[in-house]
Amino acid sequence: MKITNQAISMKLILTIATIAIFSVANSSAQTLYKATNATVSFFSKTPIEDIDGKSETATTLINLEKKDIAFMIQNNSFQFPNKLMQEHFNEKYMESEKYPISSFRGNIQENIDLKVAGVYQVTVNGKLTIHGITLDRTIPGTITVKEGSILLESNFIVKNSDHKIEIPSLVATKIADELNVKVKATLLPKN
């Protein structure tokens, strides 16, 4: 009898544990939102030349409970009006074969509940990796929480010199050191 009792209680514990883990996995799935078509564009402005590149295939994840955000982009997905610039961007500056992706991972600092619909101004502390160089950055942004979707928007500046992207003196008048970066993503529940 004793043995059976033990077996039953073991089974019960196992069942509860399984349910608990399932529900954890489930609830975490509901707090995860993802986008695979986020837009990232950047703009370099000098008196001589304006250069802009744009990608529409960046991927983004947000965890609403932990308020974590991750962003990833294939460097060679940036499109330029001038394809020669695009080739130079990948070959000479980003070195996309050596450093194929740029990424950001961070945490939202504000004490807000992202499960409640609304528009939130946020600051995100995290690590920005471009050209193999990871920097601690605080990046401002806007999060719009709606029923079934989340909109992320952010503008910030990336300095080429901070990420050891060398601009030869010959073209230094055409490429700005400070690039304006714009990010826009519509995230949907991740299943």
């Binding site: 996995a25 995860l32 991750a70 020669l84 070959e91 996309s96 990424s103 030869p168």
Partner: protein, 294 residues
């Protein structure tokens, strides 16, 4: 259960999750710096709505006293002016004209496959087709022969198979089929088959060293007109310098021709006799793609 715990834990790092879920294959860019490795075609095309303007020069042979008497052969410059235009990112058309032989050439290059790395759609090779038609516009010199318009035409078909092995080294194999409607003597073959070989080595991010060799598999016995010497296989060594919108290619080669029918089948210089020529290609690309970014 352990697996599930692991799964739940792995979800903690969102960035690792993004990386592991990435299935996009990346196209391999800049296998070669220009649309030509040196004189022969590379797998590279001009992008859609982009125009490439080329000026190619080959100077006189450096043998004997020419290197100083005609200043590195510059006194005997031959020139080819050409335009290439990208109709799509895969299809490029071109037109050119060579001095001296007065040949107009009309070409088409199509990207059949692109080398891709990573993700679930990677592919190890870049494959292109290149074809051209040459039109010789010189006056016919033999009034006794019946001269047809088609006698002026010659053709080249190439399959271009390239691979960027790593960021510094690219190689290419180029099976080449040349057909000439009219040849010098009845004993000369109308068709010449060659196997082009090419390589490119990155020195700095703006300079490269290139090699190109077109050994002929058939037609090796054809004689240079009015001599007892046979034609040579084309071999060239070149150096690319890129400055913003220009690509400047400097080379030594044993041919004065700047289109396939010429340098594959009618190369006369012997490297061993210093029958080599200095030359350069200068190309400038213009974009007519205005609608791209709003």
């Amino acid at each position: 259960m352990l697996l599930m715990v692991n799964f739940a834990w792995a979800q903690d790092d969102l960035l690792d999750m993004l990386k592991s879920e990435n299935t996009v294959s990346s196209p391999v860019l800049a296998t070669f710096k220009g649309t030509r490795i040196i004189t022969g075609q590379s797998n590279e095309n001009i992008a859609k709505k982009h125009l490439n303007f080329l000026i190619l020069h080959r100077f006189g042979e450096l043998k004997d006293d020419a290197w100083y008497y005609s200043l590195l052969g510059i006194d005997e410059a031959t020139v080819r002016i050409a335009f290439d235009y990208g109709i799509t990112d895969k299809l490029m058309v071109g037109v050119g004209r060579s001095s001296k032989t007065k040949v107009y050439d009309f070409s088409v290059k199509y990207k059949i496959a692109q080398q891709k790395i990573g993700g679930n759609k990677n592919f190890p090779l870049a494959i292109s087709y290149y074809g051209n038609m040459g039109l010789n516009s010189t006056t016919f010199t033999e009034p006794t022969r019946e001269n047809y318009f088609t006698s002026r035409l010659s053709f080249c078909n190439q399959l271009i198979i390239a691979r960027k092995i790593n960021p510094s080294i690219s190689i290419q194999i180029t099976p080449t089929f040349v057909h000439r409607n009219l040849v010098n003597k009845t004993s000369d073959p109308n068709d010449v088959i060659a196997l082009g070989l090419g390589g490119s080595f990155k020195i700095t991010r703006s300079t490269r060293l290139n090699v190109e060799y077109y050994p002929r598999l058939t037609g090796r016995d054809e004689l240079i007109p009015n001599t007892t010497n046979k034609f040579e296989d084309y071999l060239a060594v070149g150096f690319d310098i890129e400055t913003g919108g220009h690509v400047f290619q400097l080379m030594f080669s044993n041919s004065m021709y700047m289109y396939e029918q010429g340098f594959v089948a009618q190369t006369t210089g012997k490297w061993s006799d210093f029958g080599i020529r200095l030359g350069f290609n200068l190309s400038r690309t213009f974009s007519f793609d205005n609608e791209h970014i709003k």
